[in-house]
Amino acid sequence: MTEPVLSIKDLVVEFPFRNDVFRAVSGVSFDIMPGEVVGVVGESGAGKSMTGSAVIGLIEPPGHIASGEIRLKGERIDNLPEEAKAKLRGRRIGMVFQDPLTSLNPLYTIGEQLIETIRTHLPLNEAEARQKAIDLLTEAGIPKAAERMESYPHQFSGGMRQRVVIALAIAAEPELIIADEPTSALDVSVQAQIIKVLKKLCANHGAAVMLITHDMGVIAQTADRMVVMHQGTVVETGTVGDIIRRPQEPYTIKLINSIPTIQRQAGDVAPEAAANDDGAYVQVKHLVRDFEIGGGGFLKLLPGKVEMFRAVNDVSFAIEKGKTFGLVGESGSGKSTCAKMIVGLLRPSSGQITVDGHDIWAGGAGHKERRKRVQMIFQDPYASLNPRWRVADIIAEPMRTLGLARNRTEVDHRVAELLTRVRLDPSVMRKFPHEFSGGQRQRIAIARALSSQPEFIVCDEPTSALDVSVQAQVLDLMQELQDEFGLTYLLISHNLAVVRQMSSAVGVLHNGVLVEKGPTDAIFDNPQADYTKMLLDAVPDISRVA
């Protein structure tokens, strides 16, 4: 049997707080073999990133390794002095971080950063290091690498920057690469390419990979083996296929079951196709929104031509009453701009939006109807609730503003009822938002949205800030409320699996244009537009386990 590249035994990482000690990692053990790709998966707070930081020796103080050992090729590294650890970094262990936009120093060209790294570790002269840098960039799929050496990071797109970051991590031929959520900040279509580049480069240079991610789909498509972590401990270890098809531990079973997939699941009833658009409850017709580019402040006072950018370009769709329309798109596709126009936050440049026959941008009556009928659920439950307000006041604000309930007891009564509806105890109404977890906050946000008794709710990425198991609960709740109150949803998401699970009809947005729309099954099973096909192909999904 060969010796493992990395061997972690009973690792404990502690953060001392005041009079308490928080264990981020408690007793983690696993091995990584040469050339192997091991996925470390878990929800937030599982301690997976901290394990990675411990291996490369970059735990932020006051955190520290309290006990256990880490061996690199059999040699113990966790107790090395700082200078010795620094020598390992980059040379024997490389690292790729999540956000390519902030991983590179904005003031140096990528050539300077690559050559600096190479010459720190390898005995090459400037010209040789330069050649190696160009080779690495070419290998990472950067076109015209020699010319791009002089470019600064901001001149690259996010995906290209992550290629540069990977090239930097592998530059000194390390034995192990730790990739911490390497694709989480990227769009699906880019994500797939980056995963390929990472796998290819590591295979070419013989590096093993520790792939840390919350996305089981990425693991399914990339890793050989995986380690499932939960609350600082390892729950289950095994080959990817085994764990996804036959999870053993209760936590893993629950986790796997709560992951939505873009495949139709056996138990689901196929939703009926949407009827014709004219009688639909919500109608969006030829929606357009332009933005001015640049030139703020005093420059606005100067006459001159203004450059325009069309964020939403002639988008039309309709939603049946009581149904969910899923609007899918990557970042920059204009989906959030659409949402803002539909809820009345942003005036459309042209086009019309009607809800139950009322033009919501017509002013006067239309405006009043919109306030009554339309509500929104936001992505980030940490930002959507005012941290200085009590839950009761947050939920009561819509009723008070719209005059739905006047006296205190009536308000309190309604708030309690709404909290029960979203499966929270009414007694929590005296608390403040920071006392709740992300999932609970999203329930409070839903209760607030229901408070004005709306008929139509725009949900902008309602679960993308949540862990998968919480996501499943929130989606279930949304479905139940829809059945109960006959709500109409516009579900905006980049997550194709969530959209497939929730909606009866789907529209695909790309660069502000609605490239395709139709019944969910038709779009997913038989996509027509090239962009939709590409998108569906690129999604990492656990049903595609290698």
Binding site: S44, S49, G297, L301, V343, E397, E435, F436, S437, S452
Partner: protein
């Protein structure tokens, strides 16, 4: 750190007994208790403020009542009896005024000007900052440009200018009575920009947040949104700047008075006392200068220390 110490769906353990403040409060109380410097600073500040506020009742003498002044008491060194046989713990000045009493009355003036000017600057700066940050566009451009230009001049210059202009506008016979208000106006106007800039930045962050969008979707009046949603969330930094601004205002008042353009000599502040004391420094009567100077520095330093601590306590990541 993204990894939170509690699991997603279990209710966070509620603090043992009490209410909403527990969380935030305990954090601040904890950092207060663990900072001996802050404890000392707050005690010093409190003592000095109490001495100033209670001066008419606890000061040993009334230094501004000519009937009780006796030139025979003049230049008495600290902790000794004057020729007239009276005891002065911190000595007397050239006119025989008790130094301790003048300091108590002087800090009264200094603190009054400092507090009023800071309050004035705060109200003006917070208001304009909220408007600039929330409305954006041309409002923002105009307000922030003015603030930028003003911030690049020292406050003392702005205050001097405003003071000079006001002097020119107010008829001479009313100047003495108006002096203290002119001073407050001058220092206040010189310091509003710092508040405006901070509040504007914080407001721009807050207005992008979804809780503001949620209120806008409901059609809540923008003025109410600013007042009830945004304002409470930008008060943290305002408090910090307010505290440090108070120290600055006290120093600015002292400087103006020292330059001879501040409060009238009939109502001396700490700065005026130092100006008077400087005349006697070179002839050996050091106490007339030293004690007011020490009081001024202690006051400014303790308030500054409190502000520094407050900034760290409200923003733990800066440590």
């Amino acid at each position: 750190m993204t990894d939170l110490p509690h699991s997603p769906e279990q209710p966070v353990v509620a603090a043992k007994t009490s209410r909403w403040r527990t969380f935030l409060k305990s954090d601040i109380v904890w950092s207060y208790r663990h900072s001996p410097v802050t404890i000392v600073a707050s005690i010093v500040a409190l003592v000095l403020i109490l001495m100033a506020v209670l001066a008419p009742w606890i000061a040993p003498y009334n230094p501004f009542n000519p009937a009780t002044l006796n030139l025979m008491d003049g230049f008495t060194p600290p902790n000794s009896n004057s020729f007239a046989g009276r005891y002065f713990i911190l000595g007397t000045d050239n006119q025989g005024r008790d130094v301790l009493s003048t300091i108590m009355y002087g800090s009264r003036v200094s603190l009054f000007v400092g507090f009023s000017a800071t309050l004035f600057a705060m109200v003006m700066g917070v208001g304009l900052g909220l408007v600039a940050g929330y409305l954006g566009g041309i409002w923002d451009a105009v307000i922030m440009r003015v603030a930028d230009v003003q911030l690049s001049f020292p406050a003392i210059l702005i205050a001097l200018l405003i003071f000079g202009v006001a002097r020119g506008l107010i008829p001479p016979n009313q100047q003495e009575g108006a002096a203290i208000w002119v001073l407050i106006l001058a220092i206040g106007l010189a310091n509003w920009a710092q508040f405006a800039r901070t509040v504007r930045g914080a407001t721009m962050v807050e207005r992008q947040k979804d809780y503001v969008s949620a209120a806008r979707i409901l059609g809540v009046n923008p003025f109410i949104i600013l007042l009830r949603h945004v304002l409470p969330n930008v008060m943290g930094p305002v408090l910090v700047i307010g505290t440090i601004g108070l120290a600055l205002a006290i120093i600015e008042e002292a400087t103006l008075s020292y330059l001879g353009v501040g409060v009238p000599p009939t109502q001396p502040s700490l700065g005026t006392l130092i100006r008077i004391g400087q005349q006697f420094l070179f002839s050996g009567e050091w106490w007339i200068l030293l004690f007011p100077a020490v009081t001024l520095v202690l006051l400014a330093l303790s308030v500054n220390l409190l502000g520094d601590w407050l900034r760290d306590a409200l923003n733990p990541k800066l440590r």
